[in-house]
């Protein structure tokens, strides 16, 4: 059988906000762009983003991008690269206006401008009064943005490969990326897509944890593909636990609820955030609020029969605000928690939510392999944007409203940089048969017959191990055990067999390929976490409780080959303004 092939100027893997915003730039520039997505584009997980996207439009209170930048640097616990953060906060403003021009149905203020709400970690004047910087379409902002971007791509006639799974990147001997091997899920047939440039926009991998706000599809496929192509992952120990998932289920309750005036209480009805963050209270940074909730529960002040969660009180906002600003949350609370927030508080507990780390890129979306001396080597033909990438703008902790911003700004920047680079590369580079065979082996491995461990079994075990050994509080002992367990599970992968060898829409095969990806990034997380001997942002260690700027103000860089860890300095120099030097982080 001959392998089917297609050729494009650019290949984009992933059709969330980053992939679609990049695709839109390319299609508008009349380039041949293929978007490969394992689900129909509007099913991508951007659709689930609720609260909004940050931009200093100053529609509600005085604001500017420099304040936004300060908040983001502080939120990152000073691990974010300040050049990239400056770029993002400046670009935020035209990016949001462009979205609006493209049709996003933002909520509106009385003067007709875009509605902006308060979110955690936002301030005016470098740490002063609360800012209102999050542009919102009710509490369905991600949905509104994703659908709009898909719609504009229809207009621009972007070429979509819906329900195609990206299996492996194809490399040449110089390490340049030449495209990817994909699998058409409906037919079960492989398709080789050759491209002058490839953009990974595959999103996060929250499915590494058992309780997560992330969708079934968030399995870190692009990150794992990069790892296997010799590209490292950066800052993987920083995994954000969102403070308010529906207790026991994990579905997200947006920070916008607290932005609109909702607050957390423990079993005594105490507004406990006042103790942990006297100024910002419930709108402190996410890592701070998550730890506070876990501490309340650990110290016996949790709610419910098992004292295992806290409550998010909303009813005092009144029926009108809830119906107008938080309709989606009300619906979710009724369905999944059985409570109407207009009447009763919502039971909440932190849920695995977001990967700050990912594939290292520069601020133009180009994938770079960082060296310890701070120099960076570009991987020819490879780009990454969105949650799968690490620019790094979120550092050790991401602020709410900055993830939609990240995917949009850097998706757009990557698209534009690809356009620039394509001007200098008119030809496709040749692809060797050996490289194709190597990628095909990823697929044929699952055709091995016989009895073995099932994908489900290993997947369940793995996700439990990650939850137990890489959660909110991390000690040396717990994590060292986690590393051994993940290594053992990775070994066990060899013994996993697929019972279902059929071709047509074989979701078991997809889940097998996803499991390999999950375990690859799980290893990156536990190893990076074990080695970082300090507490910073989302990475919180009872055995090293302080942030250590002398030894650890640096990015972790994990390579799959030999499970090797390396480090690179943080870029503390912004583009045009003064550096924000590390300070104690209080809210």
């Amino acid at each position: 059988m001959t392998l089917a092939r297609r050729r494009f100027d650019a290949l984009i893997i992933g059709a969330g906000g980053a992939g679609l915003n990049a695709a839109l730039q390319l299609a508008n520039a009349n380039l041949r762009v293929a978007v490969v997505s394992k689900v129909f584009p509007t099913r991508s997980h951007t659709v689930a983003a609720q609260g909004g996207v940050n931009a200093a439009l100053a529609n509600v209170f005085e604001d500017n991008w420099h304040w936004h930048m300060f908040d983001t640097v502080k939120g990152s616990d000073y691990l974010g690269d300040q050049d990239a953060i400056e770029f993002m906060c400046r670009e935020a403003i035209p990016t949001v206006y462009e979205l609006e021009h493209n049709g996003v149905p933002f909520s509106r203020l009385d003067n007709g401008k875009i509605y902006q709400r308060a979110f955690g970690g936002q301030s005016q004047n470098f740490g002063g009064a609360q800012a209102a910087r999050t542009c919102a379409a009710a509490d369905r902002t991600g949905h509104a943005i994703l659908h709009t971007l898909y719609q504009q791509n229809i207009r621009a006639r972007t070429h979509f490969f819906d329900e195609y799974f990206g299996i492996e990147l194809i490399r040449d001997e110089e390490g340049a990326i030449l495209g990817a091997l994909t699998l058409e899920i409906e037919t079960g047939e492989p398709l080789l897509i050759e491209a002058k440039t490839t953009l990974l926009a595959t999103g996060g991998g929250g499915q590494v944890f058992r309780t997560t706000s992330n969708a079934h599809i968030n399995t870190g496929d692009g990150m794992a593909m990069a790892l296997r192509a010799g590209v490292p992952l950066m800052d993987m120990e920083f995994f954000q636990f969102h403070p308010t998932g529906i207790a026991g289920r994990g579905m997200l309750i947006t920070e916008g609820v607290r932005g609109e005036g909702g607050y957390l209480i423990n079993k005594d009805g105490e507004r406990f955030m006042e103790r942990y963050a006297p100024n910002a209270k419930d709108l402190a940074s996410r890592d701070v609020v998550s730890r506070a909730i876990v501490t309340e529960v650990k110290e016996g002040r949790g709610c419910g029969p098992n004292a295992d969660h806290v409550l998010l009180k909303v009813d005092h906002l009144g029926e009108d605000i809830i119906a107008k600003r938080l309709p989606g949350i009300r619906e979710s609370s009724k369905i999944f928690a059985g409570v109407d927030p207009a009447v009763e508080p919502i039971p909440v507990f932190p849920t695995a939510h977001y990967m700050m780390g990912g594939i290292p890129t520069d601020r133009l979306g180009q994938v770079v392999i960082p060296a310890a001396d701070g120099s960076e080597q570009i991987v020819p033909g490879l780009y990454a944007a969105g949650e799968c990438a690490c620019v790094s703008v979120h550092g050790a902790n991401r602020l709410g409203g900055n993830s939609l911003l990240d995917i949009l700004v850097f998706g757009r920047a990557a698209g534009q940089q690809i356009i620039n680079n394509l001007k200098d590369s008119p030809e496709h580079r040749p692809m060797s048969e050996a490289a194709i065979d190597q990628a095909m082996a990823k697929l044929t491995r699952w055709e091995q017959p016989g009895e073995g461990i099932s994908v489900r079994e290993l997947r369940d075990e793995f996700r439990k191990v990650m939850e137990d050994h890489a959660g909110v509080f991390r000690t040396d002992e717990i994590m060292a055990e986690g590393v051994e367990k993940v290594k053992a599970l990775r070994e066990k992968l060899k013994d996993v067999r697929l019972g279902d060898q059929s071709k047509v829409f074989n979701t078991a095969r997809i889940e097998a390929l996803e499991l390999e990806n999950l375990i690859d990034i799980g290893m990156a997380i536990v190893l990076s976490a074990l080695e970082r001997k300090e507490s910073r942002g989302a990475h919180s260690r009872p055995d090293y409780t302080e942030r250590d700027d002398v030894n650890w103000l640096k990015h972790s860089v994990y390579f799959k080959e030999g499970d090797r860890l390396d480090y690179k300095p943080v870029q503390t120099k912004p583009l045009t303004v003064e550096t924000f030097p590390p300070k104690p982080r209080v809210y």
Partner: protein
């Protein structure tokens, strides 16, 4: 709890059949959880699902005769035994997975994107809260397909009738104060099929898991057409 699930794998089956499964029900279990449990028991069972919270629109199925989302339907609300079938009227690819391409084509056919012809302002295009309110009940569509695949007119003419989902989106742009293509949008909806095959049966309204009302939107389009023709 007993489930009868539609099974058809073109690689091995000559005809579809209903297969029985027993699922242990836990508190708060949704139909999607039950289907995932069935997949645990039987790896070869295929269905689409993703977000698990009713926003991605992947897991629309037909349970006990009703089109719904698996992830937002508590099993406790379903009469036992539960019969789970693929969405009606669409070609089955495998098990509960159907071919939605005609549905997507109809969506594309209504030009579901904002068309603004004036030069763009440096900031946002202004829109009053009242004008923005007109988009509520329209933009929230998750394209799950529950409505169009419950519509007898769409069953008959999926190639010519846009169906409730696409028409709801047609109205979403007609209703947007920022859109400047009203005439061409209305012209494109002329003819006996695209819009006018709607006979207000209202299955769409009944089946929408987001409580949207395509029939009302279709009525609004017709009203606007009438206004424009005189």
């Amino acid at each position: 709890m007993k489930f009868f699930v539609y099974r058809y794998n073109p690689d091995v089956d000559t005809a579809p059949h209903m297969q029985e499964y027993d699922v242990e029900v836990s508190r708060g279990m949704m139909l999607r959880d039950a289907l995932m449990e069935i997949k645990r028991q039987d790896e070869a069972f295929a269905f689409r699902h993703s977000c698990g919270e009713g926003v991605c629109g992947s897991d629309a199925v037909n349970a006990n005769g009703q089109n719904l989302l698996g992830c937002t339907t508590p099993v406790s609300e379903l009469k036992e035994p539960v019969h789970v079938r693929p969405l009606p009227g669409r070609p089955v690819i495998r098990d509960l997975v159907v071919d939605m391409s005609q549905f997507y084509q109809q969506y594309r056919a209504v030009k579901p994107y904002l068309i603004h012809k004036d030069p763009l302002p440096e900031q946002e295009i202004l829109q009053s809260p009242e004008d923005r309110d007109k988009l509520d009940g329209l933009y929230e569509c998750i394209m799950c397909g529950c409505c169009s695949t419950a519509c007898p007119s769409f069953w008959w003419n999926p190639d010519k009738f846009h169906g409730p989902q696409a028409l709801l989106q047609a109205w979403r742009f007609l209703a947007d104060s920022r859109d400047q293509a009203t005439d061409e949008r209305l012209d494109a909806l002329e003819g006996p099929y695209k819009l006018f095959r709607c006979h207000t049966i209202m299955n769409c309204v009944e089946s929408c898991p987001k409580s949207l009302n395509p029939t009302k939107a279709i009525g609004k389009i017709k009203e606007l057409m009438l206004k424009h023709s005189i």
